[in-house]
Symmetry: C2
Subunit: 262 residues, 2 copies
């Protein structure tokens, strides 16, 4: 039976999909003290309470030395706009290039922490190494999560998070994939009643669709030649992408904070 239904392909690391995150770090010794980012797929949550994660890094990597020296790193989630940068940081070495500068991205300094974060990330976790386990090709850095930061524009007014706006990216067997816009379910949905399912899986996305359609309709009707008054009104209202751009600018113009781990 097994020959017909499944084919053995040997012992491989074919667990998918996996996170595709940018781990940012900075060493403390000369030659290692420049802000750096490395793409990591070998990462995950290992404990809920206390919150713990790991990253596995090859011994020969520049970032391996950096994290070993500082004992801290940030895990930056990656979204669709960061996908190309995510790939780039997995191919190039921080020994040779300043990846932040090369990519036009910016380090975000968390005061008193010792590792930079990626200012353009939707979310990052500040992690402190607790234990390192040698496994062969990789060393596994087990770490406690000390704090999580979320981009301000991803919060609703009531303080909840707009998960669909995260536009996260994952890694599956050599390729990067974006997630579909609408979730298939939420934890517990297989036993939830129809009302709950409609409220959580259908209505929010119908509203979003309606909003999008209205916006597009409005954009069409706002062609040159319309009344100036109308145009002014529109400009004061939602400009697609405006908030994000404003955020980028703020990051770019921000003064560099003094380093704390020098």
């Amino acid at each position: 039976m097994s020959d017909q239904a499944f084919r053995a392909i040997g012992a491989t690391t074919f667990l998918s999909p996996l996170p595709a995150v940018l781990v940012s770090c900075r060493g403390t010794e000369p030659g290692f003290d420049r802000d750096n980012m490395i793409t990591i797929g070998w990462t995950g949550v290992i404990n809920s309470d206390p919150p713990m994660v790991y990253v596995s890094i090859r011994k020969e990597r520049h970032s391996h030395a950096q994290v070993s020296q500082s004992g801290v790193f940030c895990i930056n989630l990656t979204d669709e706009t960061l996908c190309r940068a995510t790939d780039y940081c997995g191919v190039k070495s921080g020994r040779d290039v300043d990846k932040f500068a090369e990519l036009g991205l910016h380090a975000f300094e968390v005061e008193g922490f010792g590792a930079p974060a990626l200012a353009e990330a939707p979310l990052f976790l500040c992690c402190r190494v607790e234990r390192v386990i040698e496994l062969g090709s990789h060393d596994m850095f087990m770490a406690k999560v000390e704090q999580v930061y979320v981009r301000d524009s991803l919060f609703r007014e009531d303080g909840s998070l707009k998960m669909a706006d995260f536009e996260l990216v994952c890694y599956a067997h050599g390729e990067y994939f974006a997630l579909k816009d609408r979730p298939m379910g939420f934890f517990g949905y297989s036993l939830a009643n129809e009302d709950v399912i409609r409220r959580r899986l259908v209505e929010p996305y119908e509203k979003k669709k309606d909003k999008k359609e209205k916006k597009e309709k409005k954009a069409k009707s706002d062609k040159p030649g319309k009344k100036e008054q109308h145009k002014d009104k529109k400009e004061k209202k939602a400009k697609p992408g405006k908030k994000k751009h404003a955020f980028r600018m703020r990051m770019q113009d921000a003064p560099v904070k003094p380093r704390t781990n020098a």
Copy 2:
């Protein structure tokens, strides 16, 4: 600056997206020796050579005892058709219900291994526990991958894998998401030339789209009233979903293999 751009939300396990896999296992002691599945998000690759993975399981879980007894488990990747089952197996306990029977799913016996796999999974990894680390709420089972099995219908004739047909599902902050049909990139694409990008990221999906459109066009033209001869020809050709169904039937009708760990 940090107050404006990012908001701290405390120390949480907000690493996303994560795998949403079904871990199948079976204990060796009375009361634990029924095939079981548990949904796991706390899993990942920890080493490439040798290939190693981990799963973190709460001590009080039925599956914790089962994996501790047998020392082996299978990680079954989950696809869109398995999403509801994936949620169910994370909510219900194998202590109370036979999840395979409850869900109409089937255990696939890997000869001489000691843990069942999920016959309906697109791919599963056979894993042997090397070390258990207590972390607090969870115990981390570090394991070597011994073999990987892929559903036969996911291979092309040349032996390569049809990754887009996997239709994998992941987990992001309490919700299950399917991946978009088309990858955003492949490892190294940020430095690849245009030809390679076209060949790997554009053409395969244009072909697929063309095929799909042709199929739909054909289906439209094959309405009742057409020549019988034409209809016969079509039936012999591609039937959407046929292969999958045949596979399911094969699994369902298969005799149960003798257990090896009794």
